[in-house]
């Protein structure tokens, strides 16, 4: 399972961090940490363990900008 985050949509609300703290993090400026992991508008994760599915789906629901996509 992978996730993608549309960084053009994301406004750094940080809600995802509370739902899936092992996947999402904010950096010292309060920006989504994935921003520094890519120079484009889209972050795509490595293959994530299936045990994280509930957490990342909860993060996708909780994102105010609906910027997180969970791929199967």
């Amino acid at each position: 399972m992978r996730i993608t985050v549309d960084l053009a949509k994301c406004q750094d609300h940080g809600q995802c961090v509370y739902s899936a703290p092992t996947v999402f993090a904010l950096d010292a400026e309060g920006k989504l940490a994935f921003r520094t992991a890519t120079d484009g508008d889209r972050y795509r994760s490595e293959d994530l363990d299936e045990s994280l599915r509930d957490d990342v789906e909860e993060a996708a629901d909780a994102c105010p900008l609906q910027a997180i996509m969970v791929e199967d």
Binding site: Q11, G14, Q15, V17, L26, A28, E29, G30, A62, M69
Partner: protein, 394 residues
Amino acid sequence: MERCVVVGASMAGLRAAEAVRKTGFGGEVVVIGDEPHMPYNRPPLSKEALLGTAPADLAFRVPRAAQDVTWRLGERATGADLDARTLTLAGGETLEWSGLVVATGLTPRRLSLPGPAAGRHVIRTLDDVVALRKELIAGARLVIVGAGFIGCEVAAAARVADVEVDVVAPEQVPVERPLRAELGRALQRRHEAHGVRFHLGTVPVAYLGTSRVTGLRLSDGTELAADVVLEAVGCVPNTGWLEGNGLDLGDGVQCDNLLRVEGRPDVVVCGDVASFPNLLFDDVPRRVEHWTMVTDTAKRAGATLGRHLVGEPADPAPFAPIPSFWSDQYDLRLQSFGAVGLGADDVRVLEGDLDADVAVGYHREGRLVGVVLIGLPQRYQHYRALIAGSAARS
């Protein structure tokens, strides 16, 4: 066959339907909604959508667990008999159910003033925004009645689009009720710097014009010219269809910490219409109009109902979600954690400066129960954790 009926096809309805399914409930799940649209995200409506976000961008994804739900859109529930377990639709049809989710949200309050109707708007639905957006052209004169969050957000979006903006409200300070005077005044100064004119401590008494609104007369005698008017004066819960069942409908639908209506394990409530006790603070039921709370309550309500329907005991864990709210105005983000309203009598600046980035704390009996930040995103996690730790019952 068993059937779970969800009334209200918006965010709360969608999340509750999904949560019912996730308990393993195998019967039919039917969602009834009077808007013609699939569930969509409302916060952008008073922000970027006014400046042009395409409607399709606002639709929620329907998750896998909610794929086999029956959506009956454009249909309104007009009555329910909770003892007989039936629901009546506007067309006269009666639906039987074994479980009912109440997710009907709110409707904007309208001003009942003399004068023409054309040119007067509210903002809650996609259709409202499509109608309002057409009239917000550069140079147009917009009068916003109401200085709450929605009024202030629309004022900001309209100024960005070079629309002239006057705000009329009975309070002495904008967003005074939710935030109190200090922060309200600071926000007012920022709006004024962007050219918004405030008329506070006064209310409209009549709309002027014949076929459409050309202005308003205020209680202080002023007349304001207007091409467009937005009434942003709060909302009322949609509970009329539940009348006659002996429920407490005083402010939304009252329910317990499992989001069940009293004495009825087969009826749950969620979203803006739910008045529930949040055990993070105390056991008093209250209604909350925060986006994040919609998902929290809907997941809890759907799980409670689903477990009842599949014959499993309810989740014994107390429900104590951390309220969280945001508002975007110009380039500033206002973020709150906790229950600001409970600490409104003891407000202190925790760090920063009211006219720049600031954190303001709201206390009840000396204890921090809510925080509002303007800017300071790097401090969100700190203050949220502080609220989680210290808000607990006093």
